[in-house]
């Protein structure tokens, strides 16, 4: 079973490497959206510092939305998904492997680049770690919740818009807690409580979301 999971992850990463434009689109979208705010709001450092966590988090949320639809769509189109449904590995595990690969491709780059972008907002350098950590814990939750939405809207016409409507409200707690972690750190309260909550959300989502997405996949492929 581990061989099959390794194989799914390896395959998805290999496909992402061979089709790197998809990965770059998400990353560039994130960079551009975040960079627009200092240009639009003006160069007041105090204001920029205040809005930094919120802006970066909202941009990360939208960027990860952008990649969601692709999670199962191409496998659905070429029949690989059917083979996964009939695979020797429980479908929930296969979905978990796919979500992991999806996060490595669409979430991890955002986490890695966020400290650089935060500098544009005069974000305190010693707190960049907290911001990156909140994203590192939060973006996998976004991918996991998004997987359920992507599975439910698979093969629907106009599925993209529906997916956003379905998934964005579910992202709200992650956004509040994630951005809250960095804000609390800036205001001197320390973001530990929020980071722990994010960790709990991640553990909960990792345990349940793949199975929910698996059920949704079975329904939407019937």
């Amino acid at each position: 079973m581990l061989a099959a999971l390794r194989c799914v992850i390896h395959r998805d990463l290999l496909l992402a490497v061979r089709r790197s434009s998809d990965v770059l689109t998400v990353l560039l979208f994130f960079v551009i959206v975040v960079s627009l705010f200092p240009l639009g709001v003006g160069p007041d450092p105090a204001l920029l510092r205040t809005i930094a966590p919120g802006v970066i988090w909202v941009a990360a949320l939208l960027a990860s939305m952008l990649a969601l639809q692709r999670m199962f769509a191409s496998d659905h189109a070429d029949g690989t998904l059917e083979q996964m449904l009939l695979g020797a590995t429980p479908l929930g595990m296969t979905v978990a492997a796919k979500v992991f690969a999806h996060w490595v491709v669409s979430g991890l780059p955002l986490v890695l680049i966020s400290p650089v972008l935060a500098l544009q907002f005069d974000f305190p350098q010693e707190l960049l770690g907290v911001l990156a950590l909140s994203l590192a814990l939060g973006t996998p939750v976004l991918s996991l919740i998004g997987a359920i939405g992507a599975a439910l809207t698979l093969g629907l016409r106009g599925g993209g818009a529906l997916l956003s409507l379905l998934v964005l409200p579910l992202y709200v707690p992650v956004l509040i807690i994630g951005a809250g972690a960095a804000e609390a750190a800036v205001s001197g309260l320390g973001g530990h409580a929020q980071l722990l909550l994010l960790g709990a959300l991640l553990a909960f989502a990792a345990a349940f979301a793949p199975w929910a997405a698996a059920v949704a996949l079975r329904i939407s492929t019937e």
Binding site: A4, D78, T80, L85, L86
Partner: protein, 196 residues
């Protein structure tokens, strides 16, 4: 039932090891739906499918581990090579293969020299051959379900796949397939679905 339409009903059949079932019928008569029900992708509106006496809905992976299903779609990724595609297909089915075995299976299906080409540049028939090369590696699987396996294949490849199927049936395994071609394999059971 597909949409509002009833495709077939009161259909009952039993397949033993060493038997080949050929499902015939016009386009739209429900052949693919029947195959999808048989492998558990589609839930029948009424009735059940049993494998060795147990409902496949309960068996799930235990049944799927013994099944090879090759549908209309080839499950071939354009950006992977033929060998990589075959490796992924086998590993997903819980059937790990060495690179040498994969190369051999592709050669047997007449794809020598195409192993390391991205599937994007392969023709429709070559993609079908890549998907069907899995059969050469699935001799241990007791049930093959094949949806139009001969579509897009040339005569030589049809001959070859028929030989693979005949050998599999003579090994005591069961095969279900839909096709418009006459198969030369003897003792085939037949079901013809009428257009409702």
């Amino acid at each position: 039932m597909r949409g509002e339409r009833k495709l077939f009903g009161a259909l009952s059949f039993k397949l033993r090891g060493g038997e080949l079932l050929r499902i015939g019928g016009a386009n739209g008569s429900g052949k693919t739906s029947l195959l999808r029900i048989a492998c558990g992708l589609l839930e029948p509106t009424g009735g059940e499918v049993r494998w060795a006496g147990e409902n496949i809905r309960r068996l799930q992976e235990e049944f799927w581990r013994q099944l090879v299903y090759i549908g209309h779609a080839n499950a071939i990724k354009d950006d992977l090579t033929a060998a990589e595609n075959l490796h992924v297909a086998c590993t997903l089915a819980g059937n790990r293969m060495q690179p040498a075995q994969i190369g051999e299976a592709l050669r047997r299906l007449g794809l020598a020299g195409c192993e390391n080409m991205p599937a994007r540049v392969l023709s429709q028939g070559q993609r079908r051959r890549t998907a069907l090369a899995r059969l050469a590696l699935s001799e241990a699987m007791p049930l093959w379900i094949l949806d139009e396996p001969f579509a897009a294949l040339d005569l030589e490849a049809v001959e070859h796949v028929q030989n693979l199927i005949a050998a599999h049936v003579s090994r005591g395994a069961a095969v279900i397939l839909t096709t418009h071609l006459e198969t030369k394999i003897a003792a085939a059971l037949r079901i013809d679905l009428e257009r409702a």
